[in-house]
Symmetry: C2
């Protein structure tokens, strides 16, 4: 075996490697999503396994999940699963999020037609011949 596993990763390196700010990492820790040991001088220390966790969080956030939504996924990863989304709690969140999104889409569609209706009423003719012209 090569002996290359001793230098502990600190927050800056984790941030760089995971593509987030150090501020974000401290915030995630404060929210209980990630953990860290502390070295003698008080610096946070991480290991390689924290990278996929942070990556999972960001992947979820990029599609609109909140940090709370991400929590079960993190737990799932930490419990040894290769994928954060394969545990029951994560699946439940997926379903809930899909339902939420569907609700929001329905909301927007409803609002869209309300706005269009208000518009048409307030200004008859304004809404007509928009794209097609002629």
């Amino acid at each position: 075996m090569d002996e290359a596993e001793e230098e502990p990763m600190r927050i800056g390196e984790l941030a760089r490697r995971a593509g987030v700010s150090t501020r974000a990492l401290r915030y995630y820790e404060q929210r209980g999503l990630i953990r860290s040991r502390r070295s003698a001088n008080g610096y946070r220390e991480y290991d390689e396994s924290d990278i996929p966790i942070v990556t999972e969080i960001r992947g979820l956030m990029s599609v609109g999940f909140t940090l709370e939504d991400a929590r079960p996924f993190v737990d799932c990863l930490r419990s040894g699963h290769p994928s954060g989304g394969s545990c029951p709690d994560s699946v439940a969140v997926y379903r809930r999020k899909l339902a939420e999104i569907d609700d929001q889409i329905r909301d927007l569609l409803a609002r869209r037609s309300e706005v269009a209706a208000q518009f048409a009423e307030a200004c008859p003719g304004c809404l007509l011949r928009r794209r097609g012209e002629s």
Copy 2:
């Protein structure tokens, strides 16, 4: 003519009649959307014409407009138009809002499919047979 137009409406009555809180009315005033005279004791005074203005604001907010969005409509009403939405600036806001909503819907649809894709990848089979059961 009957002599019933002397008692000035104060904030509580306007709030009741327009169906909003007094807090909201003060906030709208602070944002410059509504105005008020002051009586000798410092109380705000309104007249009947303020009711449709507040109503317009609420109607717009109920379909997702911000207070800033509502401003041109208020100006339009105050300039004598029976409808707040018939002035050019209001029409522009209508169009912008419709475009915004369309963007948001597109966003949500895209996110929905991303979530579904992540879900399917993380947990193959989870997404299948949902409604139909059998």
